[in-house]
């Protein structure tokens, strides 16, 4: 019986699956951070339980860290953030868990660090108390975001109780035009299929356009799968995946690597495997995408206009559009390229990897950030930061007038001192344009790193294909 990639990984991880119960799934890698884990560790203490397999857990401090250059604990935004950081340090020490603290050379955003260090490997099950855990699926991993009670459950048992999700194949074909990237594919998918198309499903991304992406591009695509409502996003491992993993610090080496790689090559969905749902998208004509509203499905072409709610026949949908436009301070029919920005944020687990910074630097080189625009670049990890400095990307950004920051979640989530003021408009490479996400009253437009950098220079949304 032909099986999908997801089914192969699922079958290999089922510990117990009895009628009338929720299946018990074994977890290979548990990544954790300071914002969603304290209550879970406190629960273990209350029950007098150890962590079942401390060697499977890696803790990172990312949501609450300041990103100001040369940061120290005194730079942390408030006492409660300090408490979150210190609690993570104490929990890692007490329970024997590896910690990448604020000053660690490998510190960074949990979803950037995991693949970068070879902590996330093809064929694994990976969990983290964070919805964007779907990012790791780019390597052929079943990677799911979980709540804090589930974090405690995995710490105590190494297992997750999980109803088996349905499968969905999103086939993306076509050759991307220059300047159009994985982020534009992700936004186009959600624009076309909606923010809840993936509910109860694991999405496998396949097709020629997906195969042609680098692993970093595939991570961006899988990262945004959660914005389509999916339980997880995945891309089948291929030679590109295996070369990406080879030589990473916590990946197997030598003969063990070759043994592992041979297994990883068997993970792809079998020919004839059946998915519960299937969608097709051709990206040959795709242009850069920009969100105009307050969810990641409210998307326009960069060459397009803000929609007119009056053209919408369904009253509930019309009210939703009106509400979004009011919050965003936009007029129906306004050209996207006429909309000016106050801030540009390049960073987050969606778009803060080296490839993203290279693309952005390409549009910043020899240019200046427009007058009155604040532009910040926040690398996803300290390793990305170092490499970007060695390659000269940091100099390009600084000379163009961008701020060059330390690694962290930064303005994606606004817990750490980096945030928008009420009414401020931002071109952001992050993943969520929800009301208040980047700071109360802040107005977020999701874009690719190239569009973000070009927009910083123009002071308004720019079409990278014109440059």
């Amino acid at each position: 019986m032909p099986r999908t990639m997801f089914e192969k990984i699922w079958d290999a991880h089922v510990v117990r699956d009895e009628p009338g119960e929720v299946p018990m799934l074994y977890i290979d890698r548990h990544l954790t951070h300071e914002a969603t884990s304290p209550q879970a560790f406190a629960g273990l203490r209350a029950r007098k339980l150890p962590v079942h397999r401390p060697d499977s857990v890696v803790a990172v401090i990312d949501h609450n860290v300041p990103t100001v250059p040369g940061r120290r604990l005194i730079d942390v935004v408030d006492d409660q953030s300090v408490m979150c950081i210190e609690t993570m340090e104490e929990n890692a020490r007490d329970f024997g868990v590896k910690l990448l603290d604020m000053n660690d050379a490998d510190q960074g955003i949990v979803h950037v660090v995991g693949p970068e260090l070879g902590l996330s490997l093809p064929g694994m099950t990976v969990v983290c108390g964070d919805s964007h855990t779907s990012t790791h699926g780019a390597l052929g991993i079943f990677a799911v975001g979980i709540g804090t009670s589930e974090v405690e459950h995995v710490l105590a048992t190494q297992c997750l109780l999980q109803q088996k999700p349905r499968t969905m194949n999103i086939v993306v074909d076509g050759v991307l035009a220059p300047g159009v990237t994985a982020k534009d594919i992700a936004l186009a998918v959600i624009r076309k299929l909606g923010t809840d198309v993936g509910t109860h499903h694991v999405i496998e991304f396949s097709g020629s356009a997906v195969r042609s992406l680098t692993i970093e591009g595939r991570m961006t695509l899988c990262n945004m799968a959660i914005e389509a409502g999916a339980r997880a996003g995945m891309v089948a491992p291929d030679d590109v995946t295996i070369e990406y993993v080879r030589g990473r610090r916590f990946a197997p080496s030598g003969e063990l690597f070759e043994l592992a790689a041979a297994q990883w090559k068997q993970l792809a969905s079998d020919p004839g495997a059946r998915f519960d749902a299937e969608h097709h998208l051709d990206v040959g004509e795709l242009v850069p995408q920009v969100t105009w509203g307050t969810n990641p499905g409210m998307v326009a072409d960069v060459t397009g206009t803000v929609p007119d709610p009056a053209a919408e026949s369904d009253p509930a949908t019309r009210a939703g559009l009106e509400q979004a436009l009011e919050y965003m301070g936009l007029e129906p029919g306004q050209r996207i390229q006429d909309v000016g920005v106050d801030t540009v944020f390049i960073g987050s687990c969606t778009n803060s990897r080296l490839e993203d910074l290279r693309i952005a630097a390409g549009f910043a080189a020899g240019k200046r950030v427009a007058e009155g625009v604040r532009a910040i670049v926040v690398p996803g990890s300290m390793n990305v930061r170092r490499q970007a400095e060695e390659e000269g990307l940091a100099d390009i950004f600084r000379e163009a007038g961008f701020e060059w920051r330390e690694a962290g979640c930064s303005m994606c989530i606004a817990m750490n001192g980096d945030r928008l003021a009420p009414g401020e408009r931002c071109a952001s490479t992050s993943n969520r344009n929800f009301e208040g996400r980047q700071g109360r009253g802040g107005r977020t437009h999701l874009v690719s790193p190239g569009t973000a950098a070009a927009t910083a220079v123009a002071g308004r949304f720019a079409d990278v294909r014109d440059l």
Binding site: D78, Q80, L121, S149, T199, R231, R437, R440
Partner: protein, 203 residues
């Protein structure tokens, strides 16, 4: 865990789709290392005016008659976005025991069960009917988990589906961790076998 068998309460309409967990509790309020203290920040950006503490009279929870609401009726895709369990913690601490919507985001749905909130999925048309009928202070719903039904004040009854394992856990107030630990021998046997099959996952 609190048990849930039946519940009678005032229902409040939140006629929005895609209510996300940043709406339910903005990230700036997540910084407590405890499980409590989040109720005051529930829907903070909608519930309070710019000063962050004066109730906004336009927001439904602040309208007379809904002070003691314990059932929330909302639109499609409720609880999307961040995995933060602080969202159901805030809803529970405010006083909600049950949320009715045409659909929930998966992580939020799981979190509700772990936070003593019953999420109920009804058909879109049924939720629309409920949303349209709710009057401040007057609309009490009766939730019966064993019967899997929601009954309105005028006697209309809507049936809902729920996973039998979860239903039993909620009704008994059972703890998932205790249940899983009772199968520890199976977990250890699995690990022993996997150490042979995929040694690189057990360094």
């Amino acid at each position: 865990m609190e048990k849930f068998i039946t519940h009678d309460g005032i229902a409040v309409p939140l006629a929005r789709t895609n209510v996300n967990t940043d709406d339910i509790i903005p990230a700036r309020f997540l910084k407590s290392v405890r499980r409590t203290g989040f109720g005051i920040s529930l829907f903070a950006n909608w519930r309070y005016l710019e000063d962050g503490s004066t109730p906004d009279p336009n927001f439904v929870l602040n309208q007379p008659g809904y002070e003691d609401a314990s059932i929330l009726v909302a639109g499609e895709n409720f609880g999307c976005g961040s995995s933060r369990e602080h969202a159901p913690w805030a809803l529970r601490e405010y006083g909600f025991r049950c949320i009715i919507a045409p659909g929930f985001a998966d992580i939020f749905h799981n979190n509700c069960f772990n936070s003593s909130i019953l999420p109920i999925v009804l058909a879109s048309s049924e939720v629309d009917a409920l949303l349209g009928s709710l009057e401040p202070g007057a609309s009490t719903l009766h939730i019966d988990l064993p019967e899997q039904s929601v009954t309105t004040g005028d006697g209309s009854t809507f049936r809902f589906e729920i996973d039998p394992f979860k239903k039993n856990s909620v009704m008994e107030g059972l703890d998932n961790i205790g249940w899983s630990l009772s199968h520890k021998d199976e977990i250890l046997a699995y690990e022993k076998r996997r150490r042979q099959e995929v040694p690189w996952l057990f360094p």
